[in-house]
Symmetry: C2
Subunit: 85 residues, 2 copies
């Protein structure tokens, strides 16, 4: 079976986000002064094979912990969907 994982990676709340601060300031300069806060993260779409949903979940978590995210400063959530193979 083929699966698609949509992975959202964000900096942990306690970690400074200079890129988000820069975007906030740029939006203010464009007169969007009602913007309070911007946080910038990564979004990954991963298509892969797995025998069943449990194996698919385990693989996504392993890939995120080992490679796709930095667990010291980042956190992630994901959604998993089966796609037509």
């Amino acid at each position: 079976m083929t699966w698609q994982a949509l992975i959202y990676v964000t900096l942990k709340g306690s970690v400074l986000d200079p890129q988000g601060t820069a975007v906030t300031k740029a939006l203010h300069a464009m007169q969007y002064t009602n913007v309070h806060d911007v946080r910038v993260g990564k979004y990954l779409e991963v298509v892969f094979d797995a025998d069943n949903e449990q194996a698919a979940n385990e693989q996504v978590q392993a890939m995120c912990a080992k490679f796709l995210t930095n667990p010291v400063i980042e956190t992630y959530t994901y959604r998993l969907a089966e796609v037509a193979s």
Copy 2:
């Protein structure tokens, strides 16, 4: 009212994604050879004020079209939620 927009920005399907290709190759080198494809995008969380849901939607779409995305090569989706102000 205060709103939070969760914005997912991806390269259009017809645009080459070298970063995604690099991630795919790295996962293959880590023995995750069942991974077929990775696309890398941006994820933004924007907190801002707006009078109502329609004004909030309009502001998100304007910010995305003018600054947060490059409409030539990128496409985006977003979710909007009211947050306690």
